[in-house]
Amino acid sequence: MSNNNEKAHHNGQSGRLPRKRFYRARAHSNPLSDSHFPIPICPSEVDYAQHFPHFFPSVMCDQDKCDAPVPKVRFADIGCGFGGLLVSLSTLFPDVLMIGMELRDKVSEYVKERILALRASNPGQYENISVVRTNSMKYIPNYFEKGQLSKMFFLFPDPHFKEKNHRRRVISIQLLDEYAYALEVGGIIYTITDVEELGDWMRTCLENHPLFEAIPEEDLKADPVVELLTSATEEGQKVARNGGQTFKALFRRIAFKE
């Protein structure tokens, strides 16, 4: 195990991409279980400088810190898996900070090494993406302030078919409250799945939620991100290879009114 880690670390530094077979992980992880990894107490406790060193001034110019606004993460890929979407988005929006959140330890470790390797082999690029290992169904408010995010991605989430496990699904009316909290008004939530039942579920949840509205078709065509949902992710590519169908639901955060 430690051997693998050393190898991985070496890979990262030399710019060689990590090899997936050293990061084999179970396909599923229980989001209900108590977490045994460190959790930041609140968003200001998260050391984003460590995640995005290029975007944060070095320790030397600490005095000037108050003048320049602290850059903030704007995109979150929830359950980022092996990080395919992040890598594609990184070059599409080079000035936007984005973070992947993944519950499976080994998978998040892989993404970390992958990003380090990409940074090493493409100097100046991929500095705007990073990954954290966390349970985003529990700890979104620990990472993001109110209205901080402009995009949230939920790509090919675990379908949890059994009815008694529906509460483990990453999209639910109650969890959407928290996603709406983290999203700015006008921010977009992207969901996609190859499981029709889950697609219906996610669409229904979003349609019934008073803080989200469906995005019209013509707006979707203009959004360069939409295409990436299927082409950039491993799961998306797998579905395309097998000639499968995908089910998207894209919704916009709207202001609360009574």
């Binding site: 989001p31 209900l32 108590d34 045994h36 107490i41 609140c42 968003p43 169904m137 529990k138 408010p141 620990n142 109110k146 509460r167 639910s172 009316i173 109650q174 969890l175 959407l176 409250d177 928290e178 709406a180 909290y181 939620h209 008073p210 803080l211 609360f256 009574e258």
Partner: protein, 437 residues
């Protein structure tokens, strides 16, 4: 292997201990103690004990009551607990007007400001609302059923409170989180807009209190936690304004304990925040805090010691802020006969509006308590203090264990974690039928 299993069973038993609760009518017309499944009510105006009646057609409480509260007007009272029942009482006749059956054990309850909705939280972190249709049968049947309005994902909700203006509902959980949600005009459709999260506690949040000083109409939120601190929040922004460490002080005046953080177990305050009182695990008495709202500071003003190893399990100050009511007790404790015993102590609050330290607090002797012996024998189950104190000797440690088991995250060694994985509940269910055949 067997040892491990024994350990688990012990924990299950200890968890069943529930603290005694006390709640006083906002205008001190009556006072209620909940002990186990029993509600004891004393009418302070009529100076007599009250027996409850039930018109709701539902069952009575059969397991530990975990939460009680009056509404702001004092016309309604709600009780809820481990028997998955929420019972709503009208305080003019002390008759149960409604029994709501929940799916899970109920851990917190609150009544909306206008008295038209009751919200309660279950142990899975879901907050539900029921509408109290006061105009009779006008509403549709679906409105009778509790509807989920918000959720803390799979975390035990420890307390629910409405803000003084009724616009917000605050919920706290054992994941260190306080969520402040806008309470909408039509709550049956859900409470989706989160005003803020108040994050800063490093252990479970056990209690909340809103205060509304006259100079600050928006108000503030106070919270107590397993991390031994009381914190002051601007709940509109979720900004932490002040932190008061009370654990060290509690340990100093009590030579006991093993250096771990004693949890803040309850908090109560006058509406304007001039009086803030907290109870702390294993601490004999209460602590009076003072808050300077303009300087955003919170500190201990006075340590009020109480004799006879008295560790209050619940506190309550009425809107009149004349008295502080406290109770010590727990369900499933040894008792002399058929009645469970608890100890009630009352403090008088002296107003010192001009003093920078706010109000002061004096412990009343039993004879000086409003209602005197009649009240105490009703609420305590006996007026024999020596007997009660000997019965309550092990209460504090039993409650500490229960709180720890319920709210503190368990840390398992890697072997134990493997063992637990092998003995997961869902697998056990599958295996058992084979064992019987």
């Amino acid at each position: 292997m067997e040892e491990v299993q024994l350990g688990e069973e012990e924990i299950d038993k200890a968890t069943e201990v529930a603290p005694a609760l006390i709640s006083v009518h906002p205008f001190e017309k009556s006072v209620v103690v909940a002990l186990g499944s029993e509600l004891r009510v004393f009418d302070l105006e009529g100076d007599c004990s009250i027996s409850l009646s039930d018109d709701s057609g539902g069952p009575g409480h059969s397991d530990s009551i975990r939460a009680i509260c009056f509404d702001a007007s004092g016309r309604l009272f709600a009780s809820a607990g481990d028997d998955k029942l929420v019972k709503i009482w009208t305080t003019d006749s002390w008759c149960c007007i409604r029994t709501v059956c929940a799916d899970k054990r109920v851990s917190a309850v609150a009544i909306s400001h206008d008295g038209s909705f009751v919200v309660f939280a279950d142990k899975f972190g879901v907050v539900w609302v029921v509408s109290l249709d006061r105009d009779g049968e006008s509403q549709a049947l679906c409105a009778k059923k509790p509807m989920p309005i918000l959720g803390h994902y799979c975390s035990i909700i420890t307390t629910l409170k409405f803000s003084p203006d009724g616009r917000f509902v605050a919920s706290a959980d054992r994941d260190f989180k306080i969520r402040v949600t806008i309470f909408p005009r039509e709550p049956l459709k859900g409470a989706h807009e989160i005003q803020s999260f108040c994050l800063g506690h490093t252990d479970f949040v056990s209690c909340l209190a809103f205060v509304c000083p006259s100079d600050y109409p928006l108000g503030f939120l106070l919270s107590g936690s397993g991390d031994s601190t009381v914190r002051l929040w601007d709940f509109n922004s979720g900004c932490l304004l002040a932190t008061c460490e009370v654990g060290n002080m509690a340990l100093e005046s009590n030579e006991t304990d093993k250096g771990n953080h004693p949890a803040v177990t309850d908090i109560s305050s006058s509406a304007d925040g001039a009086l803030i009182v907290v109870s702390i695990q294993s601490f004999h008495g209460v602590m009076l805090l003072t808050c300077n709202f303009s300087a955003k500071s919170l500190s201990v003003a006075k340590v009020v010691s109480m004799k006879g190893s008295y560790v209050p399990t619940s506190l309550c100050v009425s809107s009149l802020a004349k008295h502080l009511w406290t109770v010590m007790g727990a369900s499933n404790q040894p008792s002399s006969g058929t009645t469970q015993l608890a100890r009630v102590r009352v403090c008088s609050i002296s107003r010192q509006d001009r003093s920078p330290h706010g109000h002061d607090l004096f412990v009343l002797e039993d004879n000086d308590t409003t209602g005197g012996e009649k009240l105490l024998s009703k609420l305590q189950g006996s007026s024999d203090v020596t007997e009660i104190e000997s019965m309550l000797a092990s209460t504090t440690s039993a409650l500490n264990t229960a709180i720890h088991n319920l709210l503190t995250k368990k840390q398992y060694s890697s072997e134990k974690r493997e063992f637990r994985k092998k003995n997961r509940n869902d697998r056990k269910q599958k295996q058992e039928p084979f064992a019987f055949r």
